[in-house]
Amino acid sequence: MSTRVKKKIEYHSLNVLTWLIVALVVFPIFWMVKVSLHTNGEILQGITSLSIPRPQWLNYKNLWETINFGQYFKNSLIICFSTMVVSCFLAILAGYALARYKFPGSDLFGISVIGTQMIPGIMFLLPIYLLFLKIKDLFGIPMVDTYWGMILVYSAFYTPMSIWIIRSFFVSIPKDLEESARIDGCNRIQAFVKVILPLSLPGIIAMCVYIFLTAWDELMFAWVLTTTPEVQTIPVGIRLFVGQYTNRYDLLMSAASVVTLPVIIVFFLSQKYFISGMTAGAVKG
């Protein structure tokens, strides 16, 4: 009897704790959206209540008029999506190679893949910029301020970590499945496409979310490698915007909401796959 009561109390208090944490975690995001719906005057007076008396949708209109967010959005989407596709492709190939073959140099390759993450971005910012100019000189292909230049850099940046993520998924798929497919007459590639890929789909989705969000977040290289609004990404747009309106927190928070909310919506739609994807693959590290 007493243990049942104890269990019940425990169950409910843990639930309360859980929802408390949820509230704490979501609060800053709520606050961001809330502040974006106030006038600058109200913000400067200090906001302490949770209600929004007169939502200022005008802030969003102003925002849209002052900065061409549509264009930044489009650029970010194109660059991040292409990066996702390219990185995903490369990581699947390399991850599979690392998971299934212990070839001479595989350890070295695996470690240098991690090693690339140790190079501080600031160290090769200038060299990459100059390299891009060099490529244009040598081959006549413009790289700075182009979509493909950004996609190239980002793909190279995010492939290494993705390799490690996807590798663990491949490792967790039993080899027998593949072998039985080959006995059924598939060649290696077919076995890979027909057996391995479908099984690791959740992992691939998880990896794609990871790549997309990381690319969506990159600021330093986008800042230097793009110069015109036709190519600049959202982080650059936000940075320019912050630089111009250091004190207009109404506009700043609207801008912050505008960049965050779409991602949250997409995330909510895909989180089922993402979480189950992670659940399937994280075991083997």
Binding site: L44, L133, V224, T228, R239, L240, G243, N247
Partner: protein, 471 residues
């Protein structure tokens, strides 16, 4: 898969690697005669011959201009100011890219290194010598006569178009950033103070502030003085006027040695920071930046602040256009020069210059645009649009009809600027750091506030700046 295909792959791999190696070799090897920066260097000898200007260019040109966020809608305002020119010269197309002060250095540095950049480049006054030394911008010495040359501009502003000790001119002043005191006339009246004498010198200033402290207007209690602290982009600009007024200087006369850590300079810093330490400044303001201080003033939280011409425009702009015309402060403010210290009055003169990027392929057209922007009408127009003080003296004087502008324009007579040396950028980076530490001490979050602790920060700053000067 056959052997052939593998060797093909190997071959292409080797080719790729070879390509990178050769790219490495050439970027390291023949840079002196190279196409980007080297080319610019080679141009040095005959730079003046290739940009002799004639009539407005007739063939189609697309110019790129990099500007800073000088106004709330920087690119639109710039294009509005340029409209008469673009209408007259339909062959010229103008692309405007807006950078922001915080991160513009990264972009300008990479552009100057590679020679790939805009045609027209707006530079802060303190940046011109550095970018000139980087060989990033054109020498305009032979051209500036066409816009009137030195006598048309404020000496403190013109000085910064050149490198100290040299005669080459690298830019044309576009607008001027000058600071003055903004005060609440109603608060002064309530405290029984006369604006004409209240801000005369350091003693009266402090007295005025103590009387203003705690004034209540419309039920709101005011702190006397609004001062931004460390989290600001103006940290050195806020402090140096007080050092200058105390008789201190930044560097010695031949720019080889720091002197801003001597006793007179310390007096200036102690006076200014002392105002905050004595409770005449709300310590909460010490974590704010300039624009937050400006909002505090507009909101009636402070009675006095240091600001510039853009605030006059802001007070005249209605709320729906992003201004603060509706506030009580907007109808009850006045402008006065900074109080005179032991060595007289002083204020900081900054602003921006227009320069021509060295790698530009349209230097003549770019100069034509700069000439247009230096014309009286364009100067006035852009000043109105951006709320910045025009750089040309005639145009500046024409604003004097408004008493607030008058005080501001008169304050520019005492204008000072930093030494115009290529190393100033790094020096300022160092100053931002140590002056920031000083504000931390004043705010009471790091050590005790006294002459020794402040002197120590100035000494550390001096060491670092000396090291930069002598590198």
């Amino acid at each position: 898969m056959s052997k052939k295909r593998i060797s093909l792959i190997m071959l292409s791999m080797m080719l790729m690697v070879g390509m990178f190696l050769s790219a490495c070799g050439s970027s390291g090897g023949n840079n002196g005669a190279g196409n980007q920066n080297g080319g610019a260097a080679a141009n040095e000898t005959d730079k003046n011959t290739n940009n002799s200007t004639g009539d407005a260019p007739k063939e189609d040109v697309t110019l790129t201009a990099w500007i800073m966020p000088n106004s709330p809608k920087p690119d639109k305002d710039f294009l509005t100011a340029m409209k008469p020119y673009l209408d007259q010269n339909p062959n010229v197309k103008l692309n405007v890219t807006v950078l922001d002060w915080g991160s513009a250095w990264t972009k300008i540095t990479t552009a100057a290194t590679s020679g790939q950049g805009p045609d027209i480049l707006q530079l802060g006054t303190t940046w011109v010598p550095a970018i000139a030394a980087m060989n990033g911008i054109e020498d305009l010495t032979d051209l500036v006569g066409e816009v009137g040359g030195a006598e048309n501009y404020l000496p403190a502003s013109w000085k910064t178009t050149m490198i100290d000790g040299k005669s080459e001119v690298y830019g044309v002043p576009w607008f001027v950033d000058a600071r003055a005191l903004f005060y609440r006339t109603d608060a002064l009246a309530q405290a029984g103070l006369d604006p004409a004498t209240a801000f005369k010198d350091w003693d009266t200033f402090k007295e005025t502030l103590s009387k203003l402290n705690g004034t209540e207007i419309e039920g709101q209690t005011m702190t006397a003085f609004g001062v931004p602290g460390k989290n600001d982009w103006n940290v050195p600009h806020n402090i140096f006027p007080w050092i200058w007024a105390a008789g201190g200087k930044v560097l010695n006369d031949d720019n080889t040695q720091v002197v801003f850590n001597d006793k007179t300079a310390l007096d200036g810093v102690m006076y200014y920071t002392g105002l905050a330490n004595e409770g005449l400044v709300d310590k909460a303001s010490l974590e704010k930046n300039s624009s937050q201080i400006e909002s505090d003033f507009s909101d009636g939280k402070t009675a006095v602040m240091v600001s510039g011409a853009w605030m006059i425009k802001n007070f005249a702009t209605p709320e729906e256009d992003g201004g603060v015309a509706g506030k009580t402060a907007a109808k009850n403010y006045g402008v006065a020069a900074l109080p005179a210290g032991p060595a007289g009055s002083s204020t900081f003169i900054g602003g921006s210059h227009l320069t021509i990027f060295k790698g530009s392929k349209h230097k003549e057209a770019a100069w034509d645009v700069i000439k247009f922007l230096s014309g009286d009408e364009a100067q006035l127009e852009y000043s109105k649009l951006s709320g910045q003080l025009p750089a040309k003296k005639v145009v500046m004087d024409s604003l004097k009809a408004d008493p607030n502008y008058k005080a501001l324009v008169e304050a520019t007579d005492y204008g000072m600027s930093y030494p115009s040396i290529p190393q100033w950028g790094p020096c300022e980076t160092a100053l931002v750091k140590y002056f920031g530490n000083i504000w931390d001490i004043v705010a009471g979050v790091s050590g005790t506030y006294n002459e020794e602790s402040i002197q120590k920060q100035l000494g550390d700053a001096a060491n670092e700046v000396n090291a930069i000067l002598n590198q």
